[in-house]
Structure formats: C-alpha cells, structure tokens
Symmetry: C2
Subunit: 264 residues, 2 copies
Amino acid sequence: MCELLAMSANVPTDIRFSFSALSQRGGVTGKHTDGWGISFYEDKGCRSLHDPNPSAHSELAKFLRAYPIKSRIVIAHVRKANRGRVALENTHPFIREMWGQNWSFAHNGQLKGIKKRTLGQYEPVGATDSEHAFCWLLHQLRQMYPTRPSDYKLERAFSELFASLRELGVFNALLSDGRTLYTSCSTKLCYIRRVAPFGRASLIDEDMEVDFAAETSPNDKVIVIASQPLTSNETWTHFTAGSTVIFRDGDVIRHYEGVVAPPL
Amino acid sequence: MCELLAMSANVPTDIRFSFSALSQRGGVTGKHTDGWGISFYEDKGCRSLHDPNPSAHSELAKFLRAYPIKSRIVIAHVRKANRGRVALENTHPFIREMWGQNWSFAHNGQLKGIKKRTLGQYEPVGATDSEHAFCWLLHQLRQMYPTRPSDYKLERAFSELFASLRELGVFNALLSDGRTLYTSCSTKLCYIRRVAPFGRASLIDEDMEVDFAAETSPNDKVIVIASQPLTSNETWTHFTAGSTVIFRDGDVIRHYEGVVAPPL
C-alpha cells in the first residue's frame, strides 16, 4: 500500500509542513520506501518531482522540505510497490496532457483485472496498475468529450469513472488539472479544512509544530487530504467508503456517494 | 534566443560539469534569465525539472549542480523569452507520452506561422511556438505510425519533419525518447565526443576544471551537445546549418543534410 497527500487552497500555499510528515512515512514512521513523487501546480504549469529512493532518506525530498514552493494544488505519493518494480517510471504522480492541460494522478490500492480494460491514445510507460487506470480514465474522458466539457459534466463523469474503478478493488486516488482536485475513496482518505481563525498544529510523524496564524491571511482557505491524519491536535474528516469528493480553491465542491447513475 | 544542452552516453553519466556551465548562462555569463529546465532519463523513466527563475540564481539549479543524477540521455534548456510570457508552463523541455514512452523536447529559435499548423490529440499547455511545434511533430508521427515504427523509419521521419520546421525560421532543437537523441540545427549547435584516453576539460563560463580520466571507465563514450562550446581546451564540432543529426549510446548514428526527400 501507499500513502497519499494532496492540497487544495484559494491562495498559493506552502505544503512543506504536510510533506514533511508524508516523507517520514517513506522509511522512518512508515514502510513506504519504494519511491515518492510530488506535483505542484503554478497556474497552468506543473512541476513534478519523482525519486525511486525512499523519501525519508532522499536528497531531493530533503531539498523540498527546505524549499518553499507555493501552490494552490499539490498531489504527492509515497510508494510501497505491489505491481511494478521499484523504478522511476513506476513512481506516482503520473502526468499526461489532455485538452491542453496537465493532469496528475496518484493512487493507493490494487485493481484486479484493470489491465484488461482497453486503452486508446494514452499508453502506460511503466508497469503499474495505477498508470493503466489513469490512461483508461483519460481515454474514457476523451471518448466522451473531444474538447473539455463544463465543470459539472466533468465532475459527473469522474464520479462515474471512479465508481467503475472502485468495483475492481481498492481505488483511493487523487487527480487534478491544477484547478480542481478529484478524489476517490474506497477504504481510507481523510481531510482537514483550515480557515480563520487559524491555530497551531503538531505533526504525528515528527516533532514539528506550526502556527498557521503566522503563515496565513484571514481569507485563506486550505484543505489538506491524506491517507491518514497527519496532525495530532486537529479533527480530520474521514471520507465515506465508496465516495468521490471534489475540491476547488480550498472548498469541498461536490460529494458523490457510491455510483451516480443518471445520464449526463 | 535560448541555449540548449544535451548528452548521449553509453553508460549513466553525471552531467553536472556541463550543466554548471549552462546554468551560468542563465544570468551570469548569458542573459537567458527567463527560466530553465532539464530532463534526465533513467531507463524508461524521466525526471524533468523546471523553474521559471534564472538558472544562475535558482535554488533548484544550485541543488542540481551538487546532486549527482547519472543518466544516459539528458536534455536541458535556459530560456530567453520571445513568444510566451515567463511562466512555468512556457519552460522547456516539454514532455509528452507517445507509444508508451516519454518524449522530451527543447528548442531554440522562432518559427513564423507555426501556429497555423493543425494539431491533433497533442495540445500545447503554454503559449510558446516551441510547444506548438512539438505537438505538431508528435501529431504527424502518430498519423504516420499508430504504433512505433523501426528505428530507421523513425530517423527518416524526424529528418523530414525537422527539415519542414526549419523552413519556418530557426529550428535548433533537441528531442529524445530516452534512448535516441534527435537534433536539428538551423544556425548553431555543436558537440564534443569524449572517449578514452580521457583528458582534462576547463569550462569557459566558470573557473572549473574536471579530469574525466578519474570519472570514467575505458569503454565509456559520452557526447555533449550545446548551442556554443562549453569548454575552452577541447575542439567542438559545429553542426552544418540545415542538418539533422541523430545520436545513440555516445555515438553519432546518422547525419542528414537538408531535406531528405525519398519516400519512407
């Protein structure tokens, strides 16, 4: 299994506090030692860093814990390999361009029979179930919509496609185009929403505390999503199993339970 | 104008010496201060780092100058913006997946009328001529070959497509799938091939010298390609204007002058 981390904020926000906790789970407080990766969006651009080394001991992760990249959307992943060897090409997040935008995807779980699902123009580079699932998702979307549809249609489409993948096993997943964050929960995913008045938070995985009041403005809204709570003194909301939750600008935009059937 | 750097080697090789020179041209010895980027291939995987800040003053570039990533193929670029604002999404190298492989592309020059060329499934995320040209190249290839053709057919196809782009202006360019490095020269590009017996080299842009004999094995073959020579005490070979040169495993594989017309 792997661990996931994501952020949706209404202003460019520093992810280092949360990333610090996640990266400890790659070799110190967790056994997710088979690589890690992170995508930061800055407007339409996306910086994506990957490393097949354990995050807790990675020089690149150490650099990132010290370097303030501010972003409104972040997706990160620490890997415990099950399908696909430890290698750079099997390291999440996976990135593809669709409709002139950068899409990032990270996944925790296993999907039985996913490789039988037919792909089209998007093909996996590595050998993971996860990248196959991502290519299938994008292929389905392009078949449905040659050009980008409305936000609402896209949200409905993701809720249906995610539900279809959840039928194959465990599909805890994060997907984004840099504006909206689409998430799926099969078994475990939780989030915390931080707004004014901001308080202090203490990490579970490391002796580290931050006073968000000193780091934020009163109108800031920040949602952090993780496989398991990252802080010990805040109340995290656990996603319902079998749900698709959609975030934008630090808000929960939509919440679908189970399979959403009505035609689009 | 921008500056290009690439490497093709038969063993994973450290690019730091050459990258150090290139990054100085982003704000110290050159005026290419509008961002920089680098792609390193490791087997099928590709690490790609981008930064809209000047490379000479970038924290990420400083980290890379100290961190030994070994690779057989590298593509790097420092940018002086002409079309497209200074932004992450306009920073080379651009990456797309085609036929289940990661393709990287960097370009120096301007291409008059490129945006009139019709695209297909690959769409630009940013606003540069270069990314449009890259998307056009990939679209053309997929139209010709739904699945990956033989190396020879692909080499011929690139030589024709590159020649077609050179007709629009200046197309000094680097393109790779992680195994082969395809280059185009309109005006300036040069290379050095280093094999045993290895000697010492001194950078032009920085007071830095390296003894390759201490860093290499007798069978190593390394080709470094750059817009302008990077070292002062070696003889660089300048590409012919209007040529396509193809490298693999530290060797020059093929050299096409001008437009290659015969049908594939």
